[in-house]
């Protein structure tokens, strides 16, 4: 997947070049990535409640 905002070696090494990160030229993709990060954090926190009782369940059985 071509995600580079840099197209040439000259541009890469130019003193005026700024952000070089993946998908910098595609703001919608970056926003989608941030949304996925948020979804993963929510999933993680919700799951942490589910896993809390595991040891107790195991000792009960």
């Amino acid at each position: 997947m071509d995600s580079s905002p840099i197209q040439s070696w000259e541009q890469f090494t130019s003193a005026g070049t700024g952000a070089i990160y993946t998908f910098f030229d595609s703001p919608l993709v970056i926003k989608g990535i941030c949304l996925l990060v948020l979804a993963a954090v929510v999933w993680f926190i919700a799951s942490s409640y589910r896993f809390e009782g595991r040891g107790r369940d195991r000792s009960d059985s």
Partner: protein, 428 residues
């Protein structure tokens, strides 16, 4: 400031930077020692820690004698070249010792030596509790001072053929350090076999409980800390210009702060979810996450780094369980974390970061796939063959009696963890 003074100041700045990254990388080895001491059983604690200590001792002189030279002598394949840089890396050159005209060779060698310690140490946890010390040290010297540095010469250098001909990109050594070490380890594990008691009569895996999981977790925190220095040492400090990658592409040190930390967080969360909150795998997932982002630390958006680390943490858990079911007893999860993380690292760069200029080439999925094949082969083949020969000569594994007694008593004659109140009679 005169040009001579400016050059001296620049050299001293670079010298200071790499000296301290090397010092801080020792934390990785304090961490490996604590990590492995925690997962082993009480009867093997001291021997396990000795093995970590001796890894550093055996890799240092061998890396001085030929490891550093290999890095400069084999950029084009298996035939050495006699370039000025290669000749300067020979142990009898004017650069390989105190030299008032060369501040830098020693600190660069030191940083690479610490990378070598890391590579050899990746194997050490997987083989604990049953490998002969001599066999382990031979394997560690070959992995730490020959195999990985040959891979680095090919794929982790601005003159290596994987980079110059194909545009392979592996910024933080997910390939030449983690993947090579993991596949070398896999080759050794296939010949070494599982610990006694790891599998029941029906072949079902048993969990051999760590004797001190908190120590293991502390060890991993030290490894995390040391890995920032590891990654900082992967960057090329260039006074008067931008930081450069080892391929001499421009980058920032900030990218390490962003991406490594996000990758760590993603790895912890991914492993937590995949293992259903199991502490050992959760914290190991942090390391898998930090490895998963290695190849593209210089270019990833931090959010992408998090997601790649998240997947890396999950991969480590699933891969570890898969290996265990296949009868491969990797006591430290080394293959799962370093092999899974390292392979995913190279692949993810090909998937998510194509199109970056690499001098005459561009980053691409095909270059990454080629690099993966090379790193896997270069690690697995020597690890398997050398351990196979050692096994045939009955030099690879300790006796059943020694394994049951524990290596602390069998090989060292003392216990590392002594019960309270235990005494022995003094000789005098």
């Amino acid at each position: 400031m005169s040009p001579d003074d400016a050059k001296l100041f620049a050299d001293k700045t670079i010298e200071t930077f790499y000296f301290w990254t090397g010092v801080l990388m020792w934390l990785i080895h304090a961490g490996f020692m604590a990590y492995e001491a925690g997962i082993t059983r009480r009867k093997n604690v001291l021997m396990t820690m000795m093995k970590n200590l001796l890894t550093c001792a055996v890799v240092t002189p061998t890396f001085f004698l030929f490891g550093w030279w290999i890095y400069y002598a084999f950029p084009h394949g298996l035939v050495p070249v006699a370039t000025e840089a290669a000749n300067a890396a020979l142990p009898w050159s004017a650069h390989m010792g105190p030299n008032l005209q060369d501040n830098l060779t020693g600190v660069f060698w030191f940083a690479f030596l610490l990378f070598s310690f890391t590579t050899a140490s990746i194997m050490s946890g997987a083989v604990i509790e049953r490998i002969h010390l001599g066999a382990y040290l031979l394997l560690a010297a070959v992995l730490g001072s020959v195999v990985w540095i040959l891979a680095a010469s090919w794929g982790w250098s601005e003159s290596g053929w994987l980079y110059t001909k194909f545009g392979f990109h592996d910024w933080g050594a997910g390939g030449c350090v983690h993947t090579v070490a993991a596949f070398f380890t896999l080759g050794v594990l296939l010949n070494l076999g599982p610990r006694l008691g790891k599998y029941d009569a029906a072949g079902k895996p048993q969990v051999i409980l760590p004797h001190n999981l908190p120590l293991t977790m502390l060890g991993l925190m030290l490894i995390f800390t040391g890995f920032y220095a590891f990654y900082a040492a992967c960057a090329v400090l260039q006074p008067g210009g931008p930081w450069l990658s080892i391929y001499l592409t421009p980058m920032t040190l900030s990218s390490i702060a962003f991406t490594v930390t996000m990758g760590f967080a993603g790895g912890v969360m991914g492993a937590f979810l995949a293992s259903r909150g199991e502490p050992y795998w959760t914290i190991s997932g942090g390391l898998a996450g930090m490895i998963a982002i290695a190849s593209g630390i210089d270019v990833y958006h931090p959010g992408l780094g998090y997601l790649i680390g998240f997947a890396g943490g999950m991969i480590a858990v699933y891969l570890g369980n898969f290996l265990e079911r296949r009868g491969i007893d990797d006591a430290a999860g080394a293959f799962a974390v370093h092999g899974g993380g390292g392979m995913w690292s190279m692949l993810a760069l090909g998937i998510f970061a194509g199109g970056y200029p690499q001098h005459d080439q561009f980053t691409s999925l095909s270059a990454q796939l080629l690099g993966m094949a090379v790193m896997v082969s270069l690690g697995f083949v020597p690890g398997y063959l050398l351990s196979f020969v050692l096994k045939k000569k009955n030099l690879l594994r300790v006796s059943k009696e020694d394994e049951l007694l524990g290596l602390d008593l069998a090989e060292l004659g003392i216990q590392g963890v002594v019960p309270d109140g235990a005494v022995i009679h003094a000789n005098n």
